[in-house]
C-alpha cells in the first residue's frame, strides 16, 4: 500500500511485526479493586482494529454504578497507600516501569492493533516514553519534601482521570505515574476506542503486586467519564482530550474543591524562516503533522512559511510526502497508519471538504488507501488564510494548512492568533531570532529546530484554551499535591 512515488526499483517487502506476541482475550472486564469484574448492568462494547475493522475483543462498559464502585475502592485504598513511606511507593513504580520495559514489544503490538498507529511509533516512541515516565516519577515518590512545595506535601485523595485514544498507554502513564508517586489512588477511564492497553496495564499492576484499589480501570464511553468527574468523592480531576469536553469538565467541577488539570486541543504553528535548515525543517514539518496521523494535540498543523521560500519549501515538502509509506500499521516500514475511528475519519473528511469549499488548494501524494479500515491520505492545503476554518479548527488528522508570512512580527501575530496555545515550532539558524520568537509565542511548548519531542522531565501543557496545569517534570507533581 505504499505510495507510488516510492521507488518501485527498491520496493520494500512486507516486514510485519508478529501479532502473536500480544495475546488478546475474547473479553475483558472492568478492573476494580484488583479484580476484573463485569459491569453492574452487564453492558459490553467491542473494540476494533481501525486498520482492518476486525473486532479485537469485547469489553465491559462502565456505567455510573461501576464508577461509584471504583471510586469507593480507590477511597478505601487511599488511606494505606498514602501512608506508605514514599520509598515503598517508589519501588512499586519502579517495578511497573521495569515490567513495562520487559513487555514493551507486546504492548507496542497491542497498542498498534487497537489504535491503528504504526508499530514504528509504538515501538520507538510510545513505549519507551511510557516506561521512562514511570521510572521518572518513581524517583519522586520519596523526595517530595524537596520538590519545592514545602515540607511533607499531602496527596489529594482519589484522582479521576479520563484519557484519549491517540496515545492510550502514554496518556495513562502521564496520569497514573505522578498520581501514585504523590500518594493518590486512581480511577482511570480509557477511551472507548482504545481500552486494551489500559487493561493490560491492569495486569501489570497485578504483576507488580500493587495493592488492590490503588489503580482502577474503567473502560467506557463519555457518560462514564462524566460520572467519574462529577463523583463527589473524587478529589482530583485530570483530563486529556478535546477543548469542548474540557470546558464541560470545568463547568462540572465549578464550585467544588476538586483540583483540575486539563490538557486539551491545539492548532500549533510551525514557523519556518528563510534561513532555516531546510532539510531538517521539512522533516520537522512532516513529523509535526504526520506523526500519529496528525492525531496529536500538539501537532504542528499550521505551517507558517516565510513567503520568500514558500515555493522551495513546498517543493521539498511534497517530494518528501511522496516517500511516506501508508498501510499496515504492524509493518515495520509503515510511516502512516490508520485513523483511529470511523467517527474521527468523518470529522477529518468533513473539515477537509470545508477547506476545499472555502477555496484552499488541496494536495496529497499519489496514494492508494486500503479497502477496509479507516484511512486518510496525508494532505496539505495551500492558499490558506487565517480566516479559513482549516486554519482555525483543530482537525486532529494528517492535514497541514500552509500559510505565509513576511516578517517575524507577522509570524508571531499569526501564530498567536488562535484561542489555543499548546505548541509551536521555530525553524531558523539565527539563535537570537529563536529566543525572541519563542519569547513572544503564547504556547506551552516551543520546539525550535525540532518538533514533537517529549520527555518525562519536560513539563507539557497549554496556554489559553489548550488547558491548564502541566504534566511531566517537577511541575507535574503539583497537580496531585494539596499545595
Amino acid at each position: 500500500m505504499t505510495m507510488e512515488n516510492v521507488s518501485s526499483v527498491f520496493a520494500y517487502a512486507p516486514a510485519p511485526e508478529s501479532r502473536a506476541i500480544a495475546d488478546i482475550a475474547p473479553s475483558y472486564g472492568l478492573f476494580i479493586d484488583g479484580e476484573f469484574v463485569e459491569a453492574a448492568d452487564g453492558k459490553v462494547f467491542k473494540t476494533v482494529s481501525p486498520s482492518t475493522e476486525e473486532v479485537l475483543s469485547e469489553i465491559a462498559q462502565a456505567g455510573s454504578e461501576d464508577v461509584d464502585r471504583a471510586v469507593k475502592a480507590a477511597r478505601r485504598a487511599f488511606e494505606k497507600w498514602s501512608a506508605l513511606p514514599g520509598s515503598e511507593r517508589a519501588k512499586y513504580l519502579f517495578r511497573i516501569a521495569r515490567i513495562i520495559q520487559e513487555r514493551s514489544r507486546e504492548l507496542a503490538v497491542l497498542e498498534t492493533l487497537d489504535n491503528g498507529k504504526p508499530i514504528k511509533e509504538t515501538r520507538d516512541a510510545d513505549l519507551p516514553l511510557v516506561a521512562a515516565h514511570f521510572f521518572y516519577y518513581a524517583g519522586w515518590a520519596d523526595k517530595l519534601d524537596h520538590a519545592g512545595f514545602g515540607a511533607n506535601p499531602r496527596p489529594l485523595g482519589v484522582a479521576g482521570q479520563v484519557i484519549p485514544w491517540n496515545f492510550p498507554l502514554l496518556m495513562l502513564a502521564w496520569k497514573i505515574a505522578p498520581a501514585l508517586a504523590t500518594g493518590n489512588t486512581v480511577v482511570l477511564k480509557p477511551a472507548e476506542t482504545t481500552p486494551l492497553s489500559a487493561l493490560f496495564f491492569a495486569d501489570i499492576c497485578r504483576q507488580a503486586g500493587l495493592p488492590k484499589g490503588v489503580v482502577n480501570i474503567l473502560p467506557g464511553y463519555g457518560d462514564a467519564g462524566a460520572a467519574l468527574i462529577a463523583h463527589p468523592d473524587v478529589n482530583k480531576v485530570a483530563f486529556t482530550g478535546s477543548t469542548a469536553v474540557g470546558k464541560e469538565i470545568a463547568r462540572t467541577v465549578a464550585g467544588t474543591n476538586k483540583k483540575v488539570t486539563l490538557e486539551l486541543g491545539g492548532k500549533g504553528a510551525n514557523i519556518v524562516f528563510d534561513d532555516a535548515p531546510i532539510d531538517q525543517a521539512v522533516e520537522g514539518i512532516v513529523n509535526g503533522i504526520f506523526f500519529n496521523q496528525g492525531q496529536v494535540c500538539c501537532a504542528g498543523s499550521r505551517l507558517l512559511v516565510q513567503e520568500s521560500i514558500q515555493d522551495e519549501l513546498l517543493e521539498s515538502l511534497k517530494r518528501r510526502l511522496s516517500t511516506l509509506r501508508l498501510g499496515d500499521p504492524l509493518d515495520k516500514n509503515t510511516d502512516i497508519g490508520a485513523i483511529n475511528s470511523e467517527e474521527q475519519l468523518t470529522r477529518i473528511t468533513s473539515l477537509v471538504e470545508q477547506g476545499e469549499a472555502e477555496g484552499a488548494e488541496r494536495w496529497s501524494p499519489a496514494c492508494e488507501l486500503p479497502e477496509s479500515g479507516y484511512w486518510f491520505a496525508p494532505t496539505l492545503f495551500t492558499n490558506v488564510t487565517q480566516a479559513h476554518r482549516i486554519a482555525r479548527d483543530e482537525i486532529f488528522g494528517p492535514v497541514l494548512s500552509v500559510l505565509t508570512f513576511r516578517t517575524p512580527d507577522e509570524a508571531v501575530a499569526k501564530a498567536n492568533n488562535t484561542p489555543y496555545g499548546l505548541s509551536a515550532g521555530i525553524w531558523t539558524e539565527k539563535g537570537s531570532r529563536i529566543l525572541a520568537v519563542a519569547n513572544k509565542l503564547r504556547a506551552g511548548v516551543v520546539w525550535s529546530n525540532t518538533f514533537n519531542k517529549f520527555d518525562p522531565t519536560s513539563p507539557f501543557g497549554g496556554y489559553k484554551e489548550s488547558g491548564f496545569g502541566r504534566e511531566g517534570g517537577r511541575h507535574g507533581l503539583e497537580a496531585y499535591l494539596d499545595v
Binding site: T243, A250, G255, I434, V445, D455, P459, Y463, G467
Partner: protein, 295 residues
C-alpha cells in the same frame, strides 16, 4: 479661627487605562463606614466599564509582561515608597472602612506597604524558583520558564479592603500580568485611593484598573469575557463563585477559588504561581562536529 475650615471632599473615580474616569453609566452609590455613616459616593461601574478596563489591561499587557523583572520590582517597590508617604490617609480610610481603631488600621497599612515590598522582591526570583532546565534524555537543551497568564480579573476580598486587596493584586502584577480589580463592594475607597498611588508610582497605565460597584454585576461580564485569561474569586461568595467559575469555563480561564486566608500572614507563592504559565522551549544541542554523533 474658631470656625473649622470646610474640608474639600474627594470625588472618588474609577481607574482605567491610567486615567480616572467616572462610570460611563453615570451612576454612583453611597459608601458608609462600619457604623453606617456616609463617607463618599463611589462610582457604580457598569458592564461597559468592565469592558473598557479589559481593553486597557490587554493593551498594557505587552509592555508590562515584556518589561524586565528587575524593572517590575522597582516599580512595585516605588508603590511601597509612595504609600509610605500617604500612610496617614490610608490609615484613616482603612479605619473608616473596616471599623478599626487608628492603631489597628495603622498596623494594617504598614502590613500592606510591607506586602508591596515582599512582592517587589519576588519579581526577579520567581522564575528561578519555578522554572529551570530539564535534563531530557536526548541532545536537546530544554528550559521551562514561567510567563504571565495575561489579563487577570481580581475580585478583591470584601472584608480586608486594603491589605486583602493588595495581597491579591500585587502577586498578579508582580509576574507581569495586568489586572482588572473589582474593589470591595462595601469598602471600595482604599482601593480607589490606591489607584491614585499607582498612577504616581511608575506603574504604566492599564496595568492595574480599579472598578467599584456591585461585585456580582461587574464580575459576571468579566468572568464571561473572552479576552480575560484568569480570575481570582477572592471577593465572591459561594453562590456567586460557582456561577462565575461556570462562566469562566467558556474560555478556560484560570480560576482561583475563594478560600479562607489570613492576610496578616506572610503569603506563600501560591498567588504568584496561580497566574503563571509554564513555557518549555526545546533546542537541539548536537555535537561540535560531524565526526561524532550528537546522541
Amino acid at each position: 479661627m474658631s470656625d473649622a475650615r470646610l474640608s474639600v471632599f474627594k470625588t472618588y473615580k474609577l481607574y482605567v487605562g491610567g486615567k480616572f474616569p467616572r462610570s460611563e453609566s453615570g451612576r454612583v452609590y453611597e459608601v458608609t463606614d462600619s457604623k453606617g455613616k456616609w463617607l463618599a459616593n463611589a462610582p457604580l461601574s457598569s458592564r461597559k466599564d468592565a469592558r473598557d478596563a479589559v481593553v486597557a489591561a490587554r493593551k498594557a499587557f505587552g509592555g508590562w509582561s515584556g518589561a524586565t523583572a528587575y524593572n517590575r520590582g522597582q516599580v512595585l517597590y516605588r508603590v511601597a515608597e509612595m504609600l509610605e508617604g500617604r500612610r496617614d490617609q490610608f490609615t484613616r480610610e482603612v479605619a473608616d472602612a473596616e471599623g478599626l481603631s487608628k492603631s489597628k488600621a495603622a498596623a494594617v497599612v504598614d502590613a500592606t506597604i510591607d506586602r508591596w515590598v515582599w512582592y517587589a522582591g519576588w519579581t526577579d526570583k520567581i522564575a528561578q524558583v519555578v522554572g529551570g532546565g530539564n535534563p531530557v534524555a536526548g541532545p536537546f537543551f530544554n528550559l521551562s520558564s514561567p510567563e504571565p497568564t495575561g489579563v487577570v480579573a481580581v475580585l478583591a476580598p470584601q472584608e480586608s479592603s486594603f491589605l486583602g486587596l493588595v495581597s491579591v493584586l500585587a502577586p498578579v502584577i508582580a509576574t507581569g500580568n495586568t489586572a482588572v480589580v473589582v474593589a470591595s463592594e462595601k469598602s471600595p475607597l482604599p482601593a480607589l485611593s490606591l489607584a491614585e498611588v499607582l498612577a504616581t508610582s511608575d506603574v504604566p497605565g492599564g496595568v492595574v484598573n480599579v472598578l467599584s460597584g456591585r461585585t456580582a454585576e461587574i464580575a459576571t461580564p468579566l468572568a464571561a469575557h473572552q479576552d480575560v485569561n484568569a480570575i481570582d474569586l477572592a471577593g465572591a461568595d459561594e453562590v456567586l463563585a460557582k456561577e462565575l467559575e461556570i462562566a469562566a469555563a467558556d474560555n478556560l480561564k484560570r480560576v482561583v477559588r475563594p478560600q479562607p486566608v489570613d492576610y496578616a500572614e506572610t503569603p506563600g507563592i501560591d498567588r504568584l504561581t496561580a497566574f503563571l504559565e509554564t513555557k518549555t522551549v526545546w533546542h537541539p544541542t548536537g555535537s561540535l562536529g560531524a565526526s561524532g554523533s550528537s546522541y
